[in-house]
């Protein structure tokens, strides 16, 4: 793979697959693995492991501490990874905070907002309390729901949310009343991990700005799968996880607009995030260090940098186009099976590559078990979006989620799995 982004070239699935050793293994007594669970976590190419390994074998040491050569190399490698992440999503390196995962990134913002209550004047705009409102949506992953519920608990603020239409789109009809002068935060997902729905941030960002509310974008399912420029989207904060974009687990990203990160009080405190420490008090380093207390995950961040190189080489437009084909094929094939109901949009319009469905008469767990017996790895359950499932009137669903290494003929295995589940449980 070359390092230049070849946005126009279509994706060569065979070449991509050759970089992912795990895809050649078999499961459940010799069945070839069909991996349709990238929405939960993606697989990693050799290049990512190689980058981590090279770092560990040559430069491993504590970043931002010490003046020896290894410390210098480690710090450079870590900061270089930050640069790559920043460039990938169109922001500055100083606006990229490394976290454990997206969940931690959202908690970081929510806890920093709690901490604003006792911080100085500069943190005023982050304070929330009784009478304030936080707005989310009914299609959020628990990661972008529970931290806001808890923030409301701690501060007395009120949680409100946008509903979801029957066809799996955000219902923005009450946007002007939902986002109002009392609103402090508007947190929403860019792409639903269940429905595949892609939400246009523009109307939400525009309305939030008008009332002076902060926007937090859950980009967990968008940044890995399509070109995303966070600066252009105009959101104040955004999060995503390395492990969903070919990178290692243990590293995630919080983006925050520079002036916000400068004014926001820290969440975790301790070493590496300070400027001056006395026995009585401390001052803090400028962002992003202010939000990175302790020795950070290093080989993971470097692995994420390599994952981004890999994605750029393939080209994010090519990735998105490839996934569109997979999604189209899955929607069509599943749509032709009697007794299968797709949850979410049934066309590829503003829709990504997560296809969730229910099979009449067969519980999702049982569908998943039959698929697993055939080597097809899908996710079953509520996919950490319980309120969304409740809204749709279903306890759980089956989700097939795609990535650049899936081939269109693998969709046949998905269809065969559904049909076999129907046959086995005697509903056809």
């Amino acid at each position: 793979m070359t390092a230049t982004p070849l946005e126009a070239a279509p994706l060569d699935v065979a070449a991509v697959r050759a970089d992912f050793p795990i895809l050649t293994r078999t499961v459940r007594d010799g069945k070839p693995l069909v991996y349709f669970d990238s929405g939960a976590t993606s697989q990693r190419p050799r290049q990512v492991l190689a980058a981590e390994r090279a770092y560990v074998e040559t430069s491993n040491s504590a970043v931002h501490r010490g003046a020896h050569q290894l410390a210098e190399e480690a710090t450079d490698a870590f900061e270089d990874a930050r640069e790559r992440v920043a460039k990938f999503v169109g922001v500055d390196a100083g606006e990229v905070v490394f976290t454990k995962n997206a969940t931690e990134g959202i908690n970081l913002v929510a806890y920093s907002m709690s901490n604003a209550a006792t911080a100085g004047e500069e943190a005023k705009r982050f304070r929330v309390g009784e009478g304030d409102e936080i707005v989310i949506t009914e299609m959020e992953h628990h990661a972008n729901l529970v931290p806001w519920q808890q923030l409301c608990r701690r501060t007395g603020a009120t949680l409100r949310w946008f509903g979801v239409t029957d066809d799996g789109r955000l219902d923005l009809s009450d946007i002007d009343s939902l986002i109002n002068e009392r609103t402090k935060v508007v947190a929403f997902t860019h792409q639903s991990n269940v429905l595949g729905t892609v939400n246009d941030p523009a109307p939400l960002v525009e309305r939030a700005r008008k009332v002076g509310a902060l926007t937090v974008l859950d980009a967990c399912q968008s940044v890995p799968h399509a070109p995303v420029n966070l600066r252009e989207l105009g959101v104040d904060f955004a999060v995503f996880s390395g492990h969903k974009m070919l990178g290692p687990s243990g590293v995630g990203v919080l983006y925050g607009r520079r002036e916000l990160l400068e004014a926001m009080p820290p969440f975790l405190t301790g070493g590496s995030m300070i400027e001056l420490v006395t026995m009585e008090r401390s001052t803090f380093a400028p962002p992003p260090q202010k939000f990175e207390a302790g020795v950070p995950m290093t080989s993971q961040a470097i692995g994420l940098g390599a994952a981004i190189d890999y994605l750029r080489a393939v080209g994010m437009s090519a990735v998105a186009e490839h996934e569109k084909q997979l999604t189209e094929a899955a929607l069509t094939a599943l749509g032709e099976i009697d007794g299968v109901r797709i949850i979410g949009p049934t066309t590829t319009e503003s829709r990504g590559g997560a296809v969730s469905f229910v099979v009449d008469g067969v519980h999702p767990h049982d569908v998943g078990q039959v698929m697993d017996s055939m080597g097809v790895a899908v996710r079953v359950g509520h996919h950490c979006a319980w309120p969304l499932h409740r809204r749709l009137g279903i306890p759980a669903s089956v989700r097939a989620s795609f990535y650049l290494y899936n081939s269109v003929h693998e969709i046949d295995a998905l269809v065969a799995g559904v049909r076999e589940a129907q046959r086995f449980f005697g509903v056809v």
Binding site: P364, Q369, P395, A396, F425
Partner: protein, 154 residues
Amino acid sequence: MDLEAMYQEIILDHYKNPHGRGLREPYDGESYQINPTCGDELQLRVKLDGDRIADVSHTGQGCSISQASVSVLTDLVVDRPVDDALAKLDAFVELMQGRGKVEPDEDVLEDGVAFAGVAKYPARVKCALLGWMAFKAALVQAGVEKAREGAEIS
């Protein structure tokens, strides 16, 4: 993988025709259990008659394994002394937590032996135990102190 090994005919039969279904009055203890990983829910009631289990009734929604398991439970414990029921509970939990290495005693578990295959799949053990967890909690609520002891279900 052999699907039939997990979904034994007995399990599918109980799933399609569950025993004890529907909540009944009166009852002495009740429990509501959820499986947070998949959202399955189960509400179960126990009626005692002295030291006997007079009735077990339940409602909820879940996969074939969880539904069949609570149906089998109903057969195993209703009209039996509480002590027998607790012994069966312990035996079933031991079977399910045995990773497929525990040889079930058919005299104790009857149809419950069909779940031996499920024990090999850690992700499904929770499903099989959901009803038994509810039963144990309902007994405790009904004042059966002994139900607090014995197998730890998690």
